[in-house]
């Protein structure tokens, strides 16, 4: 067992555990708790990215997701001043449908995993460092890059418009 494998299992366990805590925390139903667990999930995922030699992406993940997106979540939670919701009775319908949905996809996944051959070189050689990624991004994917920047602009405008109070 190499170190990489052990680290993989550690990070994977952390991701899944924190993911579980996001959706079903037995101790607290406060949305802030869910947000915190989401941060932990994302950081663990960054670890997994590093293990996959995607260094730039790991950094970006922490910066953007954990740093910006979750913070935005927390801002909104604070703004709306959401209290911990009372325990309403567990809706069986919701649980059942959820399990059915997950079950169906699980079946599909297992089947395809069993049948599809996953080929590839035994020892991967590509390193996802910044320079290589940047070269690819600005040569082959420059159009989507520009489009995404426009998308960001549009999103900004949309957000400003949506959060305006009605001027009556």
């Amino acid at each position: 067992m190499e170190l990489a494998d052990i680290l993989f299992y550690v990070f994977a366990a952390a991701t899944l555990l924190c993911g579980l805590l996001v959706i079903a925390n037995p101790f607290s139903r406060n949305p802030v708790t869910s947000a915190m667990c989401l941060v932990l999930t994302i950081i663990s995922m960054a670890g997994l990215f590093v293990l996959l030699h995607a260094f730039f992406l790991a950094a970006v993940q922490v910066l953007v997701y954990a740093g910006a997106v979750i913070v935005l979540f927390l801002f909104v939670i604070m703004l709306l001043d959401l209290k911990a919701e009372e325990r309403r009775r567990i809706r069986v319908f919701g649980v059942v449908t959820g399990l059915v949905a997950v079950g169906s996809i699980l079946g599909l996944f297992l089947r395809s995993l069993g049948t599809t051959p996953l080929n590839g070189p035994a020892t991967p050689s590509i390193e996802g460092d910044t320079a290589a990624l940047g070269k690819l991004l600005f040569s082959q994917y420059v159009l989507p890059f520009e489009v995404v920047s426009v998308l960001l602009l549009v999103a900004m405008i949309g957000v400003i418009l949506l959060s305006k109070k009605n001027l009556d």
């Binding site: 993911g19 996001v22 989401l38 990215f49 996959l52 997701y65 959820g98 995993l113 590839g120 957000v159």
Partner: protein, 101 residues
């Protein structure tokens, strides 16, 4: 045992399943939204894993874009939730439906 593509894909799938469960089961709007982010992250993981194990960098570029779009989407979505909260004074999914039986 040596970690291969299947392991990463299994982790990705389980994370996706957790996110799906959260979307369908939870009733707080914000928690549903967070579960949605979980699903996106799962997809990101799968992408990077494929990119690594097929010796191509294109997967990582795509993940770059996904993260960007996800960020924009979160911004807009949260603005919507804020506007909705101002209307209905509640962030609970059951209170927000107007097609009552």
């Amino acid at each position: 045992m040596h970690v291969g593509l299947e392991h990463y894909l299994t982790v990705s799938f389980l994370l996706f399943a957790l996110g799906l469960l959260g979307v369908i089961m939870r009733r707080n709007l914000l928690v549903i939204y967070m579960s949605l982010e979980l699903m996106l992250n799962a997809a990101n993981l799968a992408m990077v894993a494929f990119s690594r194990f097929n010796d191509k960098l294109d997967g990582q570029v795509l993940v770059f874009f996904i993260i960007t779009v996800a960020a924009a989407e979160v911004a807009v979505g949260l603005a919507l939730i804020v506007a909705l909260y101002r209307r209905r004074q509640s962030a609970h999914v059951e209170d927000l439906t107007s097609m009552n039986r």
